[in-house]
């Protein structure tokens, strides 16, 4: 090294970064794509890029306590004889028994019930623990139809026809053999220990025209009592929302790409679908174009973490939000308490996503009875209820500051955007301007 021969430090490729290199080596060594749980980990434009415009002189804020800010919402007001009345606009998303332990499902039911909201079954059917501890339970109707039967259909409070989810719009499910215990195998009519694949399309209908007839059948079976939700992954939200409405849905559930899954290919999670932020306005536009905004309710999910996210989703036009990943964290997923055990699995608290392997130290995404026992469903349920209530209070705080006596009176005009991307996706002005990309029709 000298003035004549200067040192060039080693330079790593931005394209072939360390993570990419490790993935290539892993694929070469194992011959299988990376499967994991959770939603996208890449950074995408999100609610963090939006801010609320609180009231001051041109608008007046509300005080707390006596000056009420209503948080209730009714889902399924269009056709169902028994719509679902929720105290808070935050529901628990569908997660299967199989992916989660029985205790975890019970905890979700307990927490949701304490907070006055609903929880949802998943791919794998309805368990007694879950039904018993959930005051309001949404029963998912999935392509696999695992555990599907008319008795559970009738003891559900609503039916959610799952067409897709944000982590994998267009994809099916995958539950690896490690988690197919005797009970899971029996509920799914499968041999124990095999890798269970779930279909990506429904076995007996395809497209909106068939869906309309499928919805008719479900309504006839349940005597037009239950609200029918249609859940789609965020990819073409304008058309999918419009078609769900045309097919006769009471509620549209729209899941952005931050929405989690129990187990899917990493390449799918990271490269298919749209950020939640980008999904809401087109879906609301579809509802407005059909004159159905607030008549067919829109539930948005995928990356909802705080009362601010709830308030922002509602301001953009959603009627409610749904949480999955955040609910799991609230009951103990990825808790640093288990750091030593995460280390043994080659990961760290906060990064653990091998939910499909069934070795969850927190006892949530597992069918191992020893691990599952670690989760006390009563305590975990209480934690979830606390979290739901905090989020609600946070959303109310923001709404009151914007002068609203109902959370649902938040409007897009109460928001500004920090980035051009968020301004374009949410169609709200860049902070300090009255403009967003696309405004003016180009």
């Amino acid at each position: 090294m000298s003035y004549q021969n200067p040192y060039t430090p080693p330079r790593k490729s931005a394209t072939f970064d360390d993570y990419t290199l490790a993935e290539i080596r892993r694929a070469a060594a194992t011959g299988i794509y990376d499967i994991r749980g959770g939603g996208t980990k890449r950074k995408v434009p999100h609610f963090d890029d939006l801010l609320f415009l609180g009231a001051s002189i041109s608008r007046y804020p509300l005080e707390g306590y006596r000056e009420k800010c209503d948080t209730s919402v009714v889902l399924g007001t269009r056709f169902a004889r028994k719509p679902i009345e929720l105290k808070i606009p935050i529901t628990i998303a569908g997660m299967s028994f199989g992916a989660l332990s029985g205790n975890a499902k019970e905890a979700l039911g307990r927490g949701a019930t304490l907070a006055g909201t609903s929880t949802t079954t998943g791919d794998g059917g309805m368990t007694d623990e879950e039904r018993g501890h959930s005051e309001k339970l949404v029963y998912q109707y999935l392509p696999s139809r695992y555990g599907m039967n008319p008795k559970d259909l009738r003891r559900a409070d609503a039916i959610e026809v799952v067409v897709g989810q944000g982590a994998k719009p267009g994809g099916g499910g995958m539950l690896l053999g490690q988690k197919i215990s005797d009970r899971v195998a029996e509920m799914r009519t499968l041999p124990k220990g095999i890798d269970q694949r779930s279909a990506c399309r429904h076995p007996d209908w395809t497209g909106p025209d068939d869906l309309e007839i499928k919805i008719l059948e479900l309504r006839e079976i349940t005597d037009w009592e239950k609200p029918i939700y249609i859940k789609v992954g965020g990819a073409r939200p304008y058309y999918d929302t419009a078609l769900a409405v045309k097919a006769g849905a009471d509620v549209v559930v729209l899941d952005g790409m931050q929405g989690g899954t129990a187990a899917t290919q990493d390449v799918f999670i990271e490269n298919v679908g749209m950020p939640t932020l980008a999904c809401i306005r087109p879906a609301v536009q579809a509802l407005q174009d059909l004159g159905m905004h607030r008549k067919v309710q829109l539930v948005v999910s995928g990356g909802i973490r705080s009362g601010a996210d709830v308030a922002k989703a509602l301001a953009l036009g959603a009627d409610a939000v749904s949480i999955g990943t955040a609910a799991l964290v609230a009951i103990g997923d990825n808790d640093p308490h288990w750091e030593a055990e995460y280390q043994k699995l080659g990961t760290t608290a906060g990064a653990y996503d091998d939910w499909h392997e069934g070795k969850d130290p927190a006892g949530i995404t597992t069918q191992d009875p020893e691990l599952a026992r670690r989760l006390d469903p009563e305590i975990a349920g209480r934690r979830l209820a606390n979290y739901l209530k905090v989020m609600t209070l946070e959303a109310q705080t923001i709404a009151r500051a914007c002068g609203k006596n109902k959370l649902h009176n938040l409007e897009p005009e109460d928001l500004c955007a920090l980035t051009m991307e968020a301004a374009a996706m949410a169609q709200v002005p860049l902070a300090g301007t009255s403009w967003y990309p696309g405004k003016g029709g180009f």
């Binding site: 041109s58 007046y60 407005q288 905004h293 002068g403 006596n405 109902k406 009176n409 409007e411």
Partner: protein, 301 residues
């Protein structure tokens, strides 16, 4: 940020003085809003006739020959000029037709309000100037409302001035700030209502019109407003024969009312009421939050 007044006469002998009384009430409220002012007077029309109040930025040019042009278009009318405004009296049956005709023959004319009874005058500027420009003091009538505006989030224009009229003989003045008017405007537009401004108060007026179009009377429409309108408001509204007051459930925006055997009066402040006859012996009160107050000549009769 605004001052509002209203006067509903029970004693017919006061009717010739309506314009003068209301003018003084409104001028007293000038401090609360210097941007624009407006007044609606319900004076009745000859049986079978209707009135339409129009405004123009170039009244001399636009209003000249208007009577003749309307007659040519098949609408016999008598046009009375008042500064930037004109009141067109036509057969009641032509009320639906005249808007389209005006849009055709005088596209730049703006319609302030219409109906069997109401005349609406509003302009940018102070109440005293607006009142004298339209010679409001000389007008008689059964009831009327007035407004002086301090603009908040929408433009200071003639159309942005109150009262807002969105239906025949219906108008509204508002003090406060609504917090859900954008969503509500979108809904009302889908239901077929049209809007001239970005003003929150226009949304409130349109909302009441839409509710009354569903068959509600003004009182019932105001009750629904308590559920559907968010934010802060004191409304004074007029219909052909009625007069209503509503404050939001929090009721921060000021409101004072006075009632005697001769009238019911409303002011943003007590000062607005002090010139009324017999005010010393009137029952004076502040309207309760979330309570609909409603008087109607036809129902009283």
């Amino acid at each position: 940020m605004c001052g509002i007044v209203g006067l509903f006469l029970k004693d017919k002998s006061l009717e010739p003085q309506l314009g003068a009384l209301l003018s003084d009430m409104l001028i007293t409220m000038t401090d609360r809003g210097p941007d624009s002012a407006g007044i609606a007077i319900y004076g009745g029309a000859p049986a079978g006739k209707a009135k339409i109040t129009v405004q123009s930025a170039e009244p001399e040019q636009e209003f000249s020959g208007l009577e003749a042009d309307l007659a040519k278009a098949g609408i016999p009318a008598s046009v009375t000029l008042k500064s930037t405004h004109a009141v067109i009296e036509i057969d009641e049956g032509k009320l639906g037709e005249i808007r389209a005709v005006l849009a055709e023959i005088r596209p730049d004319i703006r319609i302030m309000g219409s109906g069997e009874s109401v005349e609406i005058y509003k302009e940018t500027g102070l109440p005293k100037d607006v009142v004298s420009r339209f010679d409001v003091r000389a007008m008689g009538g059964t009831h009327g409302i007035g407004h002086t505006r301090m603009a908040t989030e929408s433009a200071v224009t003639t159309l942005g001035a109150h009262p807002f009229s969105t239906g025949p003989d219906q108008c509204l003045v508002h003090n406060g700030s609504l917090s859900n008017h954008n969503n509500l405007r979108r809904e009302l537009k889908r239901e077929g209502m049209s809007f001239e401004t970005d003003n929150d108060s226009e949304v409130a007026a349109a909302y009441l019109t839409a509710e009354m179009a569903k068959g509600k009377d003004l009182g019932k429409a105001l009750e629904s407003a308590l559920d559907d309108l968010d934010g802060f408001f004191t409304f004074v509204v007029g219909t052909k024969s009625g007069f209503g007051v509503l404050r939001d459930p929090i009721a921060c925006k000021p409101a004072v009312m006075a009632e005697t055997d001769q009238y019911v009066a409303f002011g943003s402040e007590y000062r607005a009421l002090v010139g009324l006859p017999g005010i010393e012996n009137a029952r004076i009160w502040e309207p309760e939050p979330a309570t609909v107050y409603f008087w109607d000549h036809e129902k009283a009769a």
